[in-house]
Symmetry: C2
DNA sequence: GCCGCTCGCTTGTCCGGACAAACAGCCTTC
DNA sequence: GAAGGCTGTTTGTCCGGACAAGCGAGCGGC
């Protein structure tokens, strides 16, 4: 029961149920392999509707903590999940021996308009145009990494693009240096997939070449954290979120 | 609208809605970046409740095809998802330069009892005990891969374990040779995580060492396929399913 | 031109209820 | 002893409804 943190009281009922069960699992009171109480029991225990209980169980299932089978019940599958996800930010980099022979090239861009609230959050005028940079990093001529970065459209943009193309400096440092925007949170999607035709052409790579795609989303100070992963981004697969720590990886080149 | 395949009529309403929308996305009529009709519109169009529409959208969201934001709407994010997942079975193997310096060791096992229907499906007596093998493959002294294999408990088991431990033969071939059980489908979970203490000890590796965990589930001929991935395993992250093809990877050692 | 406000739209949360489908265990039958 | 049917339990599907929360656009005031 992580209920010592009652200061940040969850507003949502299913979140309360999910966190209560999460506490039971984390503490080991609900051991791995054991069967959870039935949904109707949980309904009675927490005093909520079955729909709410099922929403809570759905979240825990998406974390890989429990498994559900019709007719059999709900079973605890693992005691924890997301610390490994945070750490997994290093694994792909290590596997790819990043960034020794990595080169980065800008291949596409798209404009995004900042809405009222986003503008207020970041302190820019309403309607400010952002530029979504689509960058490609190449490894050993066949492996590719893709990353999208949202930045302001500013006169210095051309210079920034050139910097990204030449140096291996972490992107958040570049943004911070250039625009004074302190990046606090990053969402990262990692997925293995084949290079689509539209991107293969400018790189001179055959379409269908296997690649590791990494999509990052950077957030400033105003964004609330994704704590315990219970509440946020329920449906996004291959996604994890982490709070940025300065000097996370000392000598490495994992540009987060 | 894949409704030409009315022969395999889906029984579930949300499945019908999901497949209809899937067809619109796949065909390009709902382009990437475009906004879907609102939930209430879909309710009216399909003649189902909002709950059912939301279940359908949830499935598509889990496939990474659409993204939903409160107050903004539902947006098409991608045109397809699962073909890349199928192919991604090769990527981790390539990254790890598998299996040149791989060694496999059996570290744990657990008994699972076959229920009535599973027994009937596989043609074994009710109550037959299966053995869940937990194998560890080691790469370069620090990377680990784990795999679980469910096999019958038979006198030949000891021999099988030894074979797995020595050779790099694909597991499905071993099972087929030994037990005449033809494997048709495989479920694969891939996740990056840290080695837990219980497994670190027998290997002499520090707990917390980063690893790539691969969990495979093998199924015989009786299991129905996961077509379009809309219906099955909604909540299991990092999971994909594929139909086994003989000679999938000729020279490689990816033991699926 | 910027700010705060209201408004309409869209998705999120939550309730109560009902029936269907899958499963394990038990019993009966052969 | 194996196969099939029965039954209670458990999760899955589906309905109808209600209100909350987030977002963008438009409006008016400063």
């Amino acid at each position: 029961m992580r209920q010592a943190k009652k200061a940040t009281a969850p507003r949502k009922r299913y979140q309360e149920v999910a966190e209560a069960l999460l506490g039971e699992i984390r503490s080991g009171r609900l051991a791995v392999g054991s069967t959870l109480p039935g949904e109707l029991e949980l309904v009675e225990h927490f005093g909520v509707s079955r729909h709410t209980v099922r929403e809570a169980l759905r979240r825990l299932e998406q974390l890989g903590l429990i498994g559900r089978r019709q007719g059999r019940g709900t079973v605890v599958q693992a005691q924890q999940s997301e610390p490994s996800y945070v750490q997994s930010v290093r694994t792909p980099a290590e596997l790819l021996q990043y960034p020794e022979d990595a080169r980065l090239s800008l291949v596409a861009s798209a404009a995004v308009r900042a809405g009222r609230r986003l503008a207020k959050l970041l302190g820019c005028p309403v309607g400010t145009e952002w530029l979504r940079l689509s960058c490609l990093r190449r490894f050993r001529e066949s492996k590719l990494e893709m990353c999208w970065v949202d930045v302001y459209v500013l006169p210095e943009f051309a210079e920034l693009a050139e910097m990204i193309g030449k140096r291996g400096q972490p992107v958040y440092e570049l943004i911070e240096e250039r625009f004074g925007e302190r990046i606090e949170n990053v969402d990262v999607d990692i997925m293995a997939r084949l290079i689509p035709e539209t991107i293969a052409a400018p790189l001179g790579v055959a379409p269908g070449t296997p690649s590791l795609t990494v999509v990052r989303r950077y957030y400033g100070a105003g964004r609330r954290l994704l704590e315990a992963s219970v509440a946020e981004h329920p449906g996004e697969r291959y996604t994890y979120s982490l709070q940025l720590r300065r000097g996370w990886q000392s000598g490495g080149g994992w540009s987060t």
